[in-house]
Symmetry: C2
Subunit: 402 residues, 2 copies
């Protein structure tokens, strides 16, 4: 269904403040370099980031002024020059990777969980908890383009706004996202001057996170309020949302769950999907042809991020507290755990280099990031960072859904 209000009239909606958050030098020092081997490490406690070089495995700069970065995520522009950082304080901050300076920052909402950049690179969408909805900004000017409140009708007939989670980009210049309280999945088509909103209702209880497959076809939302997951096949939107993996979740026993696993990290290897069990020390394997569960792999703890090495031959797993001092590596052919590593305390995130020769792992309470050779498991570097969490490399600019 199209939006009832035309596109143009929405331009004025929403509070917008474009300001520099940190003092910008008159002539910032610009490093002349390619941007294909740059990356960022989020320092969650200090609202800062570490700019890194993945070729020389070194820190280039420490940059402050990003606000509240607990649970922050990052998206890169199509030219891989800028990064947008989505902060928990509703801040949307643009970093110039070449100058190492923040060149745009707005407080666009009350509480943001993440966002995405459109396929054509023109738009950055932010999903908000408070007030619930999605705001889309122009990547160049950071001006508001469209404000989409996540309004839904409650059981008692009144209207409320839902928290928005699982915002991703998809082919066709779509943004796709989920409404937590509403149990809905919406797509926002930005391919024409009149953005078109489509709503899928009754997709399940309390979608709390989502992922999109690397080809941009399947959008899968995890459900907090019930078992199973909601799948939208974007090649066949007319079929609506269907339920898959009916036993996925906490189950009848209502297991103690230390932390709901992240879905973004689902590992696809051929026709196998590797993903974290909820509340169990298991990595699960499904057949992506029919989304049936095929294997359970016993691991060290409750898995959080289950990520495939780019060549799909290994899957690397991080764990929830109290087992978050280990990382395990699974062979995707044999389903065996072939290595257990101890990079430090409170391991939060990991990122492979684009062709998979190295992995960078953040250990929050150890205050460092460790770089491993993924073939020999040799430690190659250990870089200092203050409470490091998310790690993001610029090649994501060129991938669907990342």
């Amino acid at each position: 269904m199209p939006l009832t209000r035309p596109f143009k009239s929405l331009l004025a909606a929403g509070a917008l403040s474009l300001l520099a958050a940190s003092p910008v030098l008159a002539e910032p020092a610009v490093e002349i370099r390619g941007t294909g081997d740059l990356g960022m490490v989020i320092e969650r406690a200090t609202g800062s980031v570490v700019l890194v070089d993945t070729t020389h495995k070194r820190v280039l700069k420490n940059i402050e002024g990003f606000g509240d970065l607990s649970h922050a995520s990052v998206k890169f522009t199509r030219d891989a020059r800028h990064a947008f950082v989505f902060g928990r304080d509703g801040g949307l901050t643009r970093l110039d990777l070449l100058t190492g300076e923040i060149d745009g920052r707005i407080i666009q909402g009350g509480n943001s969980i993440g966002g995405a950049i459109s396929q054509d690179g023109r738009f950055v969408a932010v999903g908000n908890y408070e007030p619930g909805g999605v705001k889309v900004f122009d990547v160049e000017t950071m001006e508001l383009v469209i404000d989409v409140p996540a309004s839904y009708e409650k059981a008692d007939g009144t209207t409320d706004q839902a928290k928005v989670v699982g915002v991703v980009d998809a082919p066709g210049n779509l943004f796709v996202f989920s409404l937590f309280e509403a149990g809905e999945i919406w797509t926002l088509d930005m391919s024409s001057e009149e953005p078109e909103l489509t709503k899928y209702r009754d997709i399940g209880s309390m979608p709390y996170d989502a992922l999109i497959t690397a080809n941009g076809r399947y959008y899968i939302a995890g459900l907090f309020g019930e078992d199973g997951m909601a799948l939208l096949d974007l090649w066949h939107p007319e079929e609506g949302v269907r339920r898959i993996l009916p036993d996925y979740g906490r189950g009848e026993e209502r297991l103690p769950v230390y932390k709901m696993p992240h879905l973004e990290g689902w590992a696809m290897a051929g026709s196998q999907a590797f993903f974290p069990a909820v509340g169990r020390n298991e990595v699960l394997v499904a057949d992506t042809q029919d989304w049936s569960l095929t294997h359970r792999i016993e691991v060290h703890g409750q898995p959080i991020f289950v990520m495939s090495r780019p060549d799909e031959r290994q899957v690397w797993v991080t764990f929830a507290h109290p087992d978050n001092d280990r990382v395990q590596v699974i062979d995707t052919r044999t389903h065996e755990v072939i290595k257990t590593l101890s990079p430090g305390e409170s391991i939060l995130h990991k990122e492979f280099t684009p062709r998979g020769e190295h992995i960078w792992i953040s250990a929050r309470d150890s205050g460092h990031v460790v770089v491993y050779d993924t073939r020999t498991f040799e430690e190659l570097a250990r870089l200092p960072a203050q409470s490091p969490s998310g790690i993001f490399f610029t090649h994501r600019a060129h991938r669907i859904g990342l």
Copy 2:
């Protein structure tokens, strides 16, 4: 089998000349920009290239001095700042994409067909026709690291050197390539200080080109001397090379073949591989689970490049003379030709933007490159170029085998 000569002693081998091919300005004008949306178009007749910007769909600079660029290809460095151009005259030329200047050029062999950059970004390998072999250079210094002559034993017991084709990078810091006259596939492992060479013999008659799948697992060589193809599963090298698609080729009828199709462009969509038939107006489809032929799709002419849009929903096909004035688009679900386009005369190559919203197509005899929206098929731009052939965008730096 390890090389008989140790690594260090090989450093002096081979003729090496590091020289600037074009006059370099004392202070080249450097553009401060991200390198994620840059690309190059080869101008085959004039030994020049066009540097392009895929965000604004415009020409940034025309650069000369690359030697003979008929059938030239390009690889990008890991930081996406430099491009290596492999010329037919044996020239290996390094272009700085930010200055737009050539900053290194050597004549490393007599006749080169292409090359690859290693997974770790340190080495560039060049496959040579004359003399047959592979030379590996340091990406930074362009100094020779190792010279691997493609020596093989002929039926009469004498030794000769074979033309090298199908050079690709693979995970584990491997280079993989094929020896035309020898009917062999070799892997060169650059992961340690002592590179290790492994030879697979009797793989079939006259391998003329090869491809590697996007995950770096399967290396597939096309055979000129017989039907069928040679497949090396790099996850199971102990199983050796096996034959697949036994009917693939010119067949018993020895059809007139206008041009042997390129293999690099094989399109993988889910578990389907779309690839050009030889001498027939067909695109073939195989099941990658068992490499059996499942479908034949009738198309406009003899296909040359069959390439998948990054989201795997479409396959775009170019054709051999005399049908090379058309491009056709196949829907990967229905296997139907959904569009036929006429971008110009003598269409040689095409390249998708990394997330697939656009495609750039070179029409040699029309002297232009046309940019299309892949969803609406609308023409978005038409850029001038002299006899344009290959088109290469920098996101290839971050992909296995590209």
